[in-house]
Subunit: 332 residues, 2 copies
């Protein structure tokens, strides 16, 4: 920056201002400085800027998996929301593990992010402590935690799955099974299972029929194996709800292979409205949540909260309930 300043015949402070929009500087000076920047191939060092201004320009975002269109759509929404604000995403993948979330959090906090976006409301005690004492806005998404850390942009996975069961019930299905993963690692998956059981109970459908297969997130292939297990164990099942569209699709294809007509022999429903569920034959009934909108809403909320802190205010904790919708398609 000193070299640029010398070449342009100004002080480094003026160069600093020229490189930041919104600073008072004359057009002519800026022009000269930009020319010098170009000639020298100068690239600003944000590291030094961060140290000096106490603003990193980072927003930490933790998602379970980057190759899941629900979460990557949310990341897209966040990106869109913060575009132009000068903030940069620091993305981390937890692999659906709260322990990995904790490790990532520790490492990300050393970069002094100005805000944190989390997926889900389950965290290790240490993570909670780190988050609560970080002194920056925190947003939990894709869930409705009992005890939110601060802000929330989400919905109840249990309620959404209950709605799906009720919908199937209204269409005449009485022997409804559920396919999910073997552990509670994926807490959203676990909540969906809880919602299923609640609905079965409140509709007086008697026994729950749950197949737990594979460690979450359960794959298409595992969905296929699970549906066979479900039908073998309870031949009377007339509908299967899968924890996500991926396993639902796998189940659907396995039914094709075995000549089980969908939905006549067995109906199949998923969760998440993935592209594959809109395209499969038959198209899959699912629960749709606007993942991009979750990201956008969370991103805007975060921007406001960061803005508030910069001005010394404190935005009050806010919870945004996102709508979900059961989409009936040909598979039920």
């Amino acid at each position: 920056m000193a070299d640029v300043a010398e070449r342009a015949g100004v002080s480094t402070m003026t160069v600093s201002r020229a490189l930041k929009k919104g600073s008072p500087i004359s057009d002519e000076t800026r022009r000269r400085i930009m020319a010098a920047v170009d000639e020298l191939g100068y690239v600003l060092d944000q590291t030094a800027g961060t140290l000096s201004s106490k603003r990193s320009g980072f927003v930490a975002t933790l998602i379970p998996s980057i190759n899941n269109s629900n979460f990557s759509d949310t990341v897209r929404g966040i990106s869109e929301a913060i575009e132009g604000s000068g903030l940069q995403l620091l993305l981390g993948r937890t692999d659906y593990l709260v322990e990995k979330e904790e490790t990532l959090l520790e490492s990300m906090l050393t970069r002094r992010p100005e805000g944190i976006l989390l997926t889900g409301g389950s965290h290790t005690p240490r993570s909670r402590r780190l988050l609560e004492s970080a002194g920056i806005p925190i947003i939990e998404t894709w869930d409705l935690p009992e005890k939110p850390i601060e802000h929330v942009v989400g919905f109840s996975n249990a309620a959404a799955t209950r709605a799906l069961v009720h919908d199937l019930f209204a269409r005449g299905y009485r022997n409804i099974g559920f396919i999910g993963g073997t552990s509670n690692r994926d807490t959203r998956g676990a909540d969906r299972r809880v919602g299923y059981s609640q609905a079965i109970a409140e509709l007086g459908l008697g026994q729950s029929r749950i197949i737990s297969f594979g460690s979450p997130p359960i794959s298409m292939e595992q969905g296929g194996e699970a549906i066979v297990q479900l039908v073998t164990q309870w031949p009377e099942v007339d509908a299967a709800i899968c924890v996500s569209d991926l396993s639902a699709f796998g189940a659907l294809m396995e039914c094709h292979r075995r000549g089980w007509a969908v939905p006549d022999r067995i109906a199949i429903a998923g969760f998440g409205d993935f592209e594959v569920s809109r395209c499969s034959h038959p198209r899959l009934t699912t629960v749709s949540v606007d993942a991009v909108e979750i990201g956008r809403t969370a991103g805007h909320l975060l921007l406001r909260a960061i803005e508030a802190r910069r001005e010394g205010r404190l935005a009050p904790p806010e919870t945004s309930m996102m709508p979900f919708r059961v989409i009936q398609r040909e598979s039920t």
Copy 2:
């Protein structure tokens, strides 16, 4: 850090050493320091560390899309490779646009990454300049650029697609069509189309039958519309190669819907060996590339190159050819 030092009765330098593995420090001193760190809830500020040590600990990675299992698998491979090295990924999404790549590059360079991993070998002139003068290791992946910037870990998309056409030819198909996007934005997609045309020519199959549909990356749904267009325009086609498994899957489902038997009426092949192609019914013929391995190889290469620069050496440019494999399945 000064607070921690005071509480532990040491200098800040000793605290700094205690927090970094590989530094000479007595167990007792480290224990005292760690206790102080815990009690105070101290979190190291890597920003200051970066400024002082001239090592950011960042590796910039640019991929076209984060919701594409090929690229997210590669990111996973990179993560695995750099795990434990203390490096952190700075991930950017180009949306298949070289212009966006340029913008991202500029913004990432201000964070002083220690290495850069790019997808593909096409860049704007300004991007090339930025990369060449960055003074850090650069790796291009998923491609075999004519004029590599430095290191390469990839394969020829054209050669892979040629191999697929030859394979179909060997199985008796003579009227083979190609489905891809409308522009050359997706350069890997464009290379695949080139490979298709080369193969058609060298096999003496006469005319090329190419449907360009939708702007890349082309979706499942667009694949479905494109196959209808292909069959309408050239009713004699007996096989369709799609630019990726996603469009191939959409095409397959559309065939189901219209009662076109696959592969008897028309064979379908994709590219990329996505999960959906292994699970669909019939299973999709495709070209498989080990995306995770591309990431791992690139990650390890980058680590070596970074290590070399830290020691003042310069790793010679290296090109790793990754293997691809045509996988014949039930759809052809």
